[in-house]
């Protein structure tokens, strides 16, 4: 019997969703038994996030055992949202063999025809098989090892809570679901997943290649040399310390905590272990000591802005405009930075490339170029040297502009791929392999993902809808254009905000394509929300507690939509998911140019002209905000449409 669980109430405190519960607390996991008695929070209890309470960033330890052990009964039963989450999980983990699973579905010859099917099914508004069966299985199988499961439950049917309008505004995330799966769990798959996870958890597989004795000998030699140097000049220890400080963690701009305290001598492997466990804290820019350290290794001396809002002092804030000039002036001094990376950095800085996807693609292409031109220096291993090189590029990009989460994930992926390269591989092969990895990442995680999202979202658009979108999101634009091309009749409300007015770009393009648009500013959101039937929003990231991290103002739009009982659909590619938990937009954000909000378009001079140096004036231009999951009805990803509560599962995969 399919487990039937009581629907989760939306008013659950977010902290509980996060599930700071030890894995021991999870109930034994054979779900063939009746799980009606399962507590509502059972799902979150499953997610063992222990040990990482030190840090806001969490990497959940392997949890496949508990989850994959659940075998679902193949009887279709409508269940509530909580169940959906679990079931999806089970499906994903348990599925291995495509053909086995697709037995129940009509054979599909080509992906395109399948998509056609999907579209037709979408129009029927019932079947979710299209959601899952939209890409070639083999391709997905190779690229997304954890994803093939999603393809399998071809029978799982979304009896669209939000589609049918049965969506009760009090309870937006409740999406009832009919799931029917085959008992397709295979031990093999499970083992594979576990293995992968282990590999991911141990990013230095290289170390294992040398024998223990060799390492020991090397260590001894190093230690001897070190102590000798210490007795001699005493300069060496500082050197080593510096070395450690210089090592930046790839996608977060922090000084690793371990690094700060690594002046003393610790056994190297031990240190490594600790580094792995104690996750780095985010760089705090109000900590003068650390800022000094960061400055030492910074490429450009950035002038920091004077009047900073107290709440946000720990975020980097520089005088806008000086950065670009200084960076440009040092063009030829930056030896280590590949020209293409440099170009991308400048584009990020000057705002020529914006948006999570575009920035990520630009960065990856630049890395690809750099890797193509790369040649391993003598007496160095490609794996290590290249990873160090990429780290250098990344810290340069961070100096240009803080990384987006999408970029962080992409970097993590890339480094992982590089680290996993076999040592025996020739340089040429290794480079080609990484380049094709990058291509595949761009293609599958971004481009195809976008296409899939568009098709999913298309199912949610009906004739006569009034769709509201905020700002400029590439995937939302694609959805709207796609729906228009497929003869849906709908109207669009574009909500925009100062100072970027990104919505105008979207507006211009949509109007040029013949879509019916209304343009308004966010001030008028409560007025315009009356007529809106759906809200489509893009996101910079979706965090594991379902919080949507997006362009500032998104939270406001989502909140008003909730108040007016309009479903809010977030479109976000799965590669942008992050396992971090964030409860508000204060703890992490990016500060924009404070002067940008001063400019009033109709006035030549700002109203505040002349009082800029006043100490009482502080300007705050935030770039992002966090939308709590309560305000989000559904997240449309390339893995299908999920409610916020299910997200944790997806986050754990990527």
């Amino acid at each position: 019997m399919e487990p039937r669980r009581p629907p989760r109430t939306v008013s659950d405190p977010k902290v509980r969703q996060v599930g700071f519960v030890t894995p021991a607390a999870a109930p034994p996991a054979r779900t063939v038994s009746d799980t009606a008695a399962m507590p509502a929070a059972g799902a979150s209890q499953e997610l063992p996030l222990s040990g990482s309470s030190l840090s806001p960033v969490m990497i959940p330890p392997p949890r496949h055992d508990g989850l994959s052990a659940r075998v679902t009964a193949p009887v279709p039963v409508p269940i509530a949202a909580t169940a959906l989450r679990l079931d999806n999980l089970q499906i994903r983990v348990g599925s291995y063999n495509q053909s086995e699973v697709l037995l129940g579905t009509p054979p599909m010859t080509s992906p395109s025809s399948r998509v056609e099917d999907a579209v037709s099914e979408f129009s029927d508004d019932v079947s979710a098989s299209s959601l899952y069966g939209r890409t070639e299985p083999d391709k997905v199988g190779t690229a997304f090892p954890g994803r093939s499961g999603d393809l399998m439950p071809a029978k799982s049917v979304v009896a669209g809570g939000s589609i049918g309008g049965s969506h009760t505004p009090e309870n937006p995330p409740t999406t009832s679901l009919v799931v029917k799966t085959l008992p397709g769990i295979t031990e093999k798959k499970r083992g594979m997943l576990e293995k992968q996870h282990d590999e991911a958890a141990a990013p230095k597989p290289l170390k294992e290649k040398t024998t223990k004795a060799e390492r020991r000998a090397l260590q001894e030699a190093q230690r001897a040399a070190k102590s000798a140097a210490k007795e001699g000049g005493g300069a060496d220890p500082t050197n080593t310390k510096k070395d450690k400080v210089v090592k930046p963690t790839p996608q977060k701009k922090d000084v690793p905590e371990v690094a700060a305290s690594s002046g003393k001598k610790v056994d190297r492997p031990l240190e490594k272990e600790r580094k792995k466990e104690v996750l780095p804290l985010r760089m705090q820019f109000d900590d003068k000591h650390k800022v000094e350290k960061v400055k030492q290794r910074a490429i450009v001396n950035q002038r920091e802005a004077k009047s900073r809002v107290e709440f946000f002092q720990r975020l980097p804030q520089y005088v806008h405009g000086t950065q670009l000039q200084e960076l440009e002036a040092k063009f030829f001094q930056l030896d280590a930075v590949h020209p293409s990376v440099y170009k991308v950095g400048l584009h990020h800085l000057s705002g020529k490339i914006t948006g999570g996807n575009a920035r990520c693609i630009a960065m990856l292409l630049a890395f690809k170029e750099a890797i193509k031109d790369y040649s391993t220096p003598p007496e160095k291993a490609l794996v290590r040297d290249l990873n160090a090189k990429i780290s250098g590029f990344v810290s340069f990009l961070i100096e240009c502009r803080p990384l987006s989460i999408s970029m962080g994930n992409a970097i993590k992926f890339l480094k992982n791929r590089i680290a996993k390269l076999p040592l025996s591989m020739s340089e040429l092969d290794a480079k080609a392999s990484i380049q094709s990895d990058i291509d595949r990442f761009i293609n599958q995680k971004i481009i195809i993902a976008d296409k899939v999202i568009v098709r999913h979202a298309f199912a949610k658009i009906r004739d006569g809808d009034v769709l509201l979108t905020y700002g400029l999101s590439s995937v939302v634009e694609m959805i709207l254009v796609y729906a228009h091309e497929h003869k849906k009749k709908f109207r669009i409300v574009i909500v925009d905000s100062r100072p970027k007015h990104e919505g105008q770009i979207l507006l211009r393009r949509l109007v040029a394509k013949g879509l019916n648009c209304t343009y308004t500013h966010i001030n008028a959101i409560s007025y315009i929300m009356h007529e809106v039937t759906r809200v489509f929003l893009g996101a910079a990231s979706v965090l594991s507690n379902g919080t949507v991290y997006s362009r500032v103002g998104t939270a406001c739009v989502a909140m008003v939509a909730k108040a007016y009982r309009v479903p809010v659909l977030i479109c976000c590619e799965a590669y942008k998911f992050h396992e971090r938990v964030q409860l508000d937009s204060i703890c992490f954000n990016e500060l924009g140019d404070p002067d940008a909000i001063l400019k009033v378009p109709t006035h030549v001079e700002s109203y505040l002209y002349g009082c800029m140096d006043n100490d009482n004036l502080q300007l705050l231009n935030l770039n992002y905000d966090a939308t709590p999951s309560d305000y989000v009805s559904m997240i449309i990803t390339d893995y299908g449409m999920v409610s916020c509560n299910q997200l944790l599962i997806y986050c754990s995969v990527f």
Binding site: Q325, F332, D335, Y342, K343
Partner: protein, 462 residues
């Protein structure tokens, strides 16, 4: 690999006609001393400061090339890696480039005029070039105030006499793109603007206070193709740059397959990248365009076949070209004056540089912003103000030198008065010569003359 995929070409020129009395066969323009250092050294040191150490220096004329090459190998032997290329005289800047263009391999080429004295970092131009993906990026700086403005003696007169030569430069409202350029000589009463460009931009800012500093970053493939196909092009400034600006909107350059004729290894990569980009662009058009919401601008960017960009130097930066005699004395004055950080010397407390081996007579005063090189001797009761005096000069008593440049091995007898003049090497001035605003080229100058200012720039003596 070249640094950041840029190659540097320094066009050092030869015996320029503009500077005809000053330069000669023995002293090519590149070696003209500015504050007792060849002017070329300012460029080379600027490039060296930017970590650009592999340079190609192109000199007009075999003899000049030998002189320049000899000097460079002596002065920069261990610091720079310089190749000196000699081109025939009178081929122009474009011709000079044409003769070396086959040696260029990097993606972009930085072309610096050898007579540039500036502290604008060349990296800034290069980075701007890269950022925009431009075909050409040029450095613009505010045109220098001509004439000895702070001397007060004859500055006013001189300015009035000199024909005012303005550069007309058209920029887009964001001041990033170069839309029109006409330099002094070409400007007549009317300026012709291209309607098409104007339409595309909507608004053009025309500035006359900017000067082309002759520091360009070119995309190599485009430059080479232009050089190949347009045989008649003589000069970068007069032919190539206007051509590129003119064809900004039409697809002439890229349409001819000029751009696409990349070298084999590059080609696949570029296409590869294009494929990815276009694939994404197709489905996500929003992400790849300028975030500028103005419709006009974005449209223009779509149409634009290639971009001509500008980097406008900050006004606090010094930037001047040694292209006339006036400029020569101006630069000499500035380098030991307001732009003293360029000279590379450390100034004394009195804000002047006196070499320890220089000998001063009694009651001789050397004012601020002066420079006295090694081995020079000054007699009694001399007065030197805002002047540069070269090596091994012998200057008698009661000599006044104001706002002047005295080169090496000059002998000045008692009672001379020199104002606003340039005195070349090995000149001997006899007693009580009064010089005002002129150059003296060779050997003897014995007669007591009060040269009128109209002799400016044309005086060759004996």
């Amino acid at each position: 690999m070249t640094r950041m995929d840029f190659e540097v070409v320094v066009l050092a020129g030869g015996a320029s006609s503009n500077l005809s009395p000053l330069v000669s066969q023995e002293l090519p323009k590149a070696l003209l001393p500015v504050a007792n250092r060849p002017v070329l050294s300012y460029v080379l040191e600027l490039l060296e400061g930017s970590n650009l150490k592999d340079l190609i220096v192109v000199v007009e004329g075999e003899d000049a090339a030998q002189l320049v090459g000899g000097w460079i190998s002596g002065a920069y032997a261990d610091r720079l890696h310089v190749e000196v290329a000699a081109v025939p005289e009178g081929v122009g800047t474009a011709g000079a480039l044409r003769s070396i263009s086959s040696y260029l391999t990097a993606n972009d080429v930085l072309i610096v005029s050898g007579d540039l004295v500036t502290d604008v970092p060349p990296g800034a131009i290069a980075a701007t070039h890269r950022r925009h993906g431009a075909v050409v990026t040029t450095l613009l700086c505010s045109s220098p105030v001509s004439g000895p403005s702070d001397s007060g003696t004859s500055g006013g007169k001189e300015k009035a006499k000199k024909p005012v030569r303005h550069n007309i430069i058209g920029l887009d409202p964001t001041r990033q793109y170069l839309l029109h350029m006409a330099t002094g000589a070409e400007v007549e009463k009317d300026i012709r603007l291209q309607k098409r460009i104007l339409q595309a931009v909507g608004q053009m800012e025309i500035r006359a206070d900017l000067m082309d500093a002759h520091l360009y970053a070119f995309k190599r493939t485009v430059l080479q193709d232009i050089l190949d196909q347009k045989d008649k092009f003589q000069s970068i400034r007069q032919d190539i740059l206007p051509y590129l600006i003119r064809t900004q909107l039409s697809s002439e350059v890229s349409g001819n397959g000029l751009v696409s004729s990349e070298s084999g290894s590059n080609k696949s990569a570029v296409q590869d990248e294009l494929r990815w980009l276009s694939q994404h662009r197709e489905i996500a058009p929003s992400t790849f365009q300028d975030s500028q919401p103005l419709s006009l601008k974005s449209q223009r960017d779509d149409q634009r076949s290639h971009k001509c960009c500008v980097y406008i130097a900050n006004e606090s930066k010094y930037c001047a070209r040694l292209n006339s005699i006036q400029a020569f004395s101006d630069i000499n004055r500035d380098v030991i004056g307001e732009a003293s950080h360029l000279s590379g010397y450390s100034f004394s407390a009195q804000n002047n540089i006196i070499h320890p081996s220089a000998e001063l007579g009694s009651k001789t005063t050397v004012g601020p912003q002066c420079m006295l090189a090694e081995g020079s001797k000054l007699g009694d009761k001399c007065s030197v103000k805002r002047s540069v005096i070269g090596r091994h000069c012998r200057i008698g008593s009661n000599v006044k030198i104001v706002n002047s440049v005295v080169m090496n091995h000059v002998t000045i007898d008692d009672g001379c008065s020199i104002q606003g003049s340039v005195i070349c090497s090995n000149v001997q001035l006899q007693e009580r010569v009064v010089l005002k605003d002129c150059q003296v080229i060779c050997h003897f100058f014995s007669v007591l003359y009060n040269l009128p200012t109209s002799w400016y720039g044309r005086k060759k003596c004996l």
